[in-house]
């Protein structure tokens, strides 16, 4: 079927197309305007902005820890309940089904779950398979697992380590690799309670820095498009800006992605010894072109922190609101689930301001990514309000008026005039994530791209405009109209498929037999286990 989206303002930074025009879709792909072609369907987009479907590179939407968070907080789901709709299970609060619907309504068509425990890969993919409409992808967690730490300790060759990383990515159907507080979860099991970049994991004699550098090199050598995704040490601690700065410096010319930098933007100035170090970090990021970051913006209200940084979450239990939590020592990382309410007090205000400072002080929208680290900084449903804050100085000023003055005095936010343009928003939420993830088929509106398209009706109220898309196409299928889901369809789980050496398979089989008393089969699964047809979509590694 040939569809014409007519007369909208097209914002496609990748192809340099900015301004009024028509966009053509044939079936599931964007095509050049056909000569003399007449459309089977025409969408009137006059007064609308047209962008590629948005891509979220860091949102915890599925897997063991996320599900445990749901289990821990049934009272929160009730608050999310909507009225019955006509799509199955679309009214279920904070469920997989609602996740897909809410993302699609905002014009998002691809979301990455950035923390998949390799041991729970099947569980994660089953959850993702129940998220309708959008495409999904995962990053597999490495860096606290005994097999890798032992190899590093024993000076295994880089080829062996690459084989292990390749096997993990392939068997878990992941799109990349994440390391979370490298070495800390292993150290925590030996009763270590704090852990920094140059601290050493007991029993292994391996520093956190060494783990990060080893994985960074392996990911790069394997041609994994997405750089190693790093959750640094000392998350949330006053003075953690030093850790982030040291990690940025450790990139040393190879690509590195730092997750939720806001949670490391904490200096130690002021009487509370808690201040904004955002300007310092933004300067470092600006000066380090091999580094990309996402923010992890905080917004006020109730949420739940979900992290595989088990050491950090253990130490955060005292601040749980409501007062309950789950701490799990897993094979490798495990995780912690600690509910939390961000209030407009000094600390909440400071965190909120630091995130926005980072957004606004990092010059290059190709290297800063739009996230709340859902649900850690805020639920992803806060995105429209966040877009407004980035695009309107006036909106920020209004917000600041109700916040802690003493916190704002330690932040540069009030003095920042920058307002994001729609083109910068399109870069940050479409073009740049696609490039960072190696997804050449999306993030732009050029001929040949998959027809993931978001059409927003212009409105003075930016949050309203970007929160309820007028039209959203997924693979050319019109799935949202006037902010409502029209019907379900099933997206894909995007994965890499590197080929590990067969000797590594034998090594891993022996390892699992000896150490766990189980065959490797217990930790692997066929594609058919997910029980959705053509569920996985393959992405190529760099050659």
């Amino acid at each position: 079927m040939l569809t014409k989206i007519a007369g909208g303002d097209i914002i496609d930074p990748v192809n340099g197309r900015l301004g009024k025009g028509d966009l053509w879709i044939r079936d599931d792909k964007i095509v050049a305007a056909p000569a003399g072609g007449s459309a089977d369907r025409t969408i009137d987009a006059a007064g609308c902005i047209i962008m590629a479907g948005a891509i979220d590179i860091h949102s915890h939407i599925g897997g063991g820890n996320v599900n445990t968070a749901r289990l821990l907080l049934p009272e929160q789901h009730a608050a999310h309940q909507a009225r019955p709709a006509t799509t199955p299970l679309s009214n279920a609060g904070w469920s997989t089904f609602q996740t897909g619907c809410l993302y699609a309504k905002m014009g998002f068509t691809t979301v990455v779950e950035p923390a998949m425990s390799p041991g729970a890969a099947l569980h994660t993919h089953l959850e993702l398979a129940d998220i309708p409409i959008i495409d999904k992808a995962t990053l597999a967690i490495l860096g606290n697992d005994d097999f890798l730490l032992s190899m590093i300790r024993d000076d295994a060759s880089s080829h062996m380590i690459e084989d292990y990383v390749a096997w993990t990515v392939a068997s878990t159907r992941a799109l990349g690799v994440k390391v979370i507080n490298a070495g800390a979860a292993a150290a925590f099991k030996e009763n270590v309670r704090t852990f920094s970049l140059d601290d050493v994991v007991p029993s292994y004699g391996v520093s956190s820095r060494k783990i990060v550098k080893t994985l960074q090199a392996a990911v790069d050598s394997l041609g994994v498009p997405h750089p190693l995704h790093v959750h640094c040490n000392n998350l949330g601690s006053p003075g953690s800006a030093d850790t982030a700065a040291a990690t940025i410096a450790a990139a040393e010319g190879l690509p590195l992605h730092l997750a939720h930098l806001q949670f490391y933007g904490y200096g130690m100035e002021g009487k509370r010894r808690f201040s904004s170090a955002a300007a310092r970090l933004a300067e470092l990021v600006n000066a380090t072109p091999e580094v990309t970051i996402d923010i992890g913006q905080v917004m006020f209200g109730q949420t739940v922190t979900v992290s595989s940084d088990v050491m950090r979450q253990f130490s955060a239990r005292g601040s749980a609101q409501p007062k309950k939590s789950v701490i799990h020592d897993g094979d490798g990382n495990g995780g912690g689930i600690v509910p939390y309410r961000y209030s407009k007090d000094f600390y909440g205000t400071m965190q909120w301001a630091i995130g926005l400072e980072l957004f606004l002080l990092i010059d290059d929208p190709w290297r800063v990514f739009f996230t709340t680290d859902h649900p850690n900084g805020a639920p992803f449903t806060a995105y429209p309000a966040l877009f407004e804050l980035l695009m309107s100085r006036e909106a920020r000023t209004e917000m600041i008026a109700g916040l802690s003055p003493s916190a704002m005095a330690l932040s540069t936010l009030s003095a920042i005039d920058r307002e994001y343009t729609f083109e910068e928003i399109a870069i940050m939420t479409r073009a740049a994530p696609a490039r960072l993830l190696g997804l050449t088929d999306r993030g732009h509106l050029g001929a040949g791209a998959i027809a993931d398209i978001a059409v927003y009706r212009r409105d003075q109220n930016i949050a309203k405009m970007l929160g309820q898309a007028a039209y959203v196409f997924k693979d050319g299928d019109l799935v949202v109209q006037d902010g409502e889901i029209t019907h379900y369809r099933w997206g894909k789980a995007l994965r890499l498929n590197p080929s590990p050496d067969k000797a590594m398979l034998r090594r891993l089989e022996d390892y699992h037999q000896q150490r766990y008393g189980l065959s490797l089969d217990w930790f692997d699964f066929p594609d058919s286990a997910v029980a959705r047809e053509q569920h996985f979509g393959e992405v190529a590694c760099r050659t």
Partner: protein, 367 residues
């Protein structure tokens, strides 16, 4: 071989499914009892939403008790693999279901290889907390677990006494062998408490996690959740991601509502609230006393109609007759299992989807 019956009369599966759908469509208060794999659960919950049913596990009380630990209190837990590799002290809390005895035996026969050296010991210390009648799973080489009990006290009270004594407080009656326990904990690097909801009531589970929290003030310890029913816990997890809530959820008002008392399916049946019972189990469904006019739809691995059932459809056993995804307490996550003795019997999910296809609805089923 017959595989479907309406009453006692053999029929085609398609016809039995259509009749089941008609019964569901006219039901005022349908309830589902699940004892199936992840895909069977997913299909059943999708059908429950469509017909406004409440659903629970066939042995709902223990699954609800385990879920309540997480919904009400939270916990500190550890993976089975880490338990095998790190636990130098193993504490069995109450009676464990037989399905976990093999793993306990494995722990008794192996030594941790990731904890620091065992100070000259070449085996794990094993305790069991309970009453003086509690028996631990059999251990190898004639080993026995050291029993921790507190007179006639319940398991919860014994755990409370244990926790109090560990904190140096007075108790009205001391826990037996406490000194051995305390000595073992002092030397331990990573003690692990094995628990299940089978024999451990809710407050006891909370007390256990209080003890584990106390231990973590200065050292490490954790709890290994060994579900009383693996299929039950798998269904609880699938329900949680699909609806936001674990089992004992109902769609009576269109929305998923979680209420462990209200949607206790056994209670609903006993109270005469339910007028239709869909029972999904690969094992033979026991004939039940007919209550009021409640109809029974039985999906079971059977060669004959279930007594008293309005509809019976034969299904295969997950992981035996067909490939399945199940919760594995041995890995602490979901696992894909191949068919051990593949047969043509359909899976629960297949039959439920067939029934659902006959239920009129505005939207397509998600699962």
């Amino acid at each position: 071989m017959a595989v479907a019956w309406i009453g006692n009369r053999e029929t085609l599966v398609e016809r039995a499914a259509a009749h089941a759908a008609a019964l569901l469509g006219s039901s005022r208060c349908p309830v589902f009892s699940l004892d199936t794999d992840i895909h069977g659960t997913r299909a059943a919950i999708a059908l429950a939403e469509r017909v406004g049913a409440a659903y629970d596990h066939a042995d709902g009380a223990v699954v609800a008790r385990e879920a309540a630990l997480f919904t009400d209190k939270g916990a500190m837990t550890v993976a089975p693999g880490e338990t095998r590799r790190r636990a130098d002290v193993v504490v069995i809390v109450g009676e464990l279901p037989k399905i976990h005895h093999q793993f306990v035996g494995e722990l008794a026969e192996t030594v941790p290889d990731l904890s620091p050296p065992l100070s000259g010991r070449n085996r794990r210390e094993i305790f069991v907390v309970g009453s003086n009648e509690t028996t631990a799973p059999p251990l190898s080489n004639g080993r026995t677990a050291t029993l921790l009990f507190c007179g006639e006290a319940s398991l919860g009270a014994t755990l409370a006494a244990l926790r109090a004594q560990w904190r140096g407080r007075q108790t009205s009656q001391p826990v037996s062998n406490f000194d051995d326990f305390a000595k073992a904990l002092e030397a331990a690097h990573f003690p692990v408490f094995l628990f299940s909801g089978g024999a451990t009531e809710g407050l006891a589970l909370e007390m256990l996690h209080g003890l584990i929290t106390d231990l973590n003030r200065k050292s490490r310890a954790s709890g290994l959740h060994l579900p009383a029913s693996e299929d039950g816990w798998g269904s609880a997890l699938a329900s949680t991601w699909m609806t936001g809530f674990p089992l004992r959820t109902g769609f009576a008002r269109g929305l998923p509502e979680f209420d462990p008392w209200r949607y206790d399916v056994a209670r609903m049946i006993a109270a005469g609230e339910a007028d239709l019972h869909l029972r999904i189990s690969s094992s033979i469904v026991q004939p039940q006393k007919k209550r009021n006019r409640m109809a029974l739809i039985a999906l079971a691995k059977t060669q004959q109609p279930v007594a008293g059932a309005a509809v019976t459809i034969a299904i295969g056993e997950a992981g035996v007759d067909h490939q399945a995804v199940v919760y594995s307490s041995r890995t602490g996550s979901l696992r894909s299992v191949d068919a051990r003795a593949a047969s043509e019997l359909p899976s629960a999910a297949t039959v439920i989807r067939l029934v659902a296809s006959h239920v009129s609805a505005e939207a397509a089923l998600p699962c």
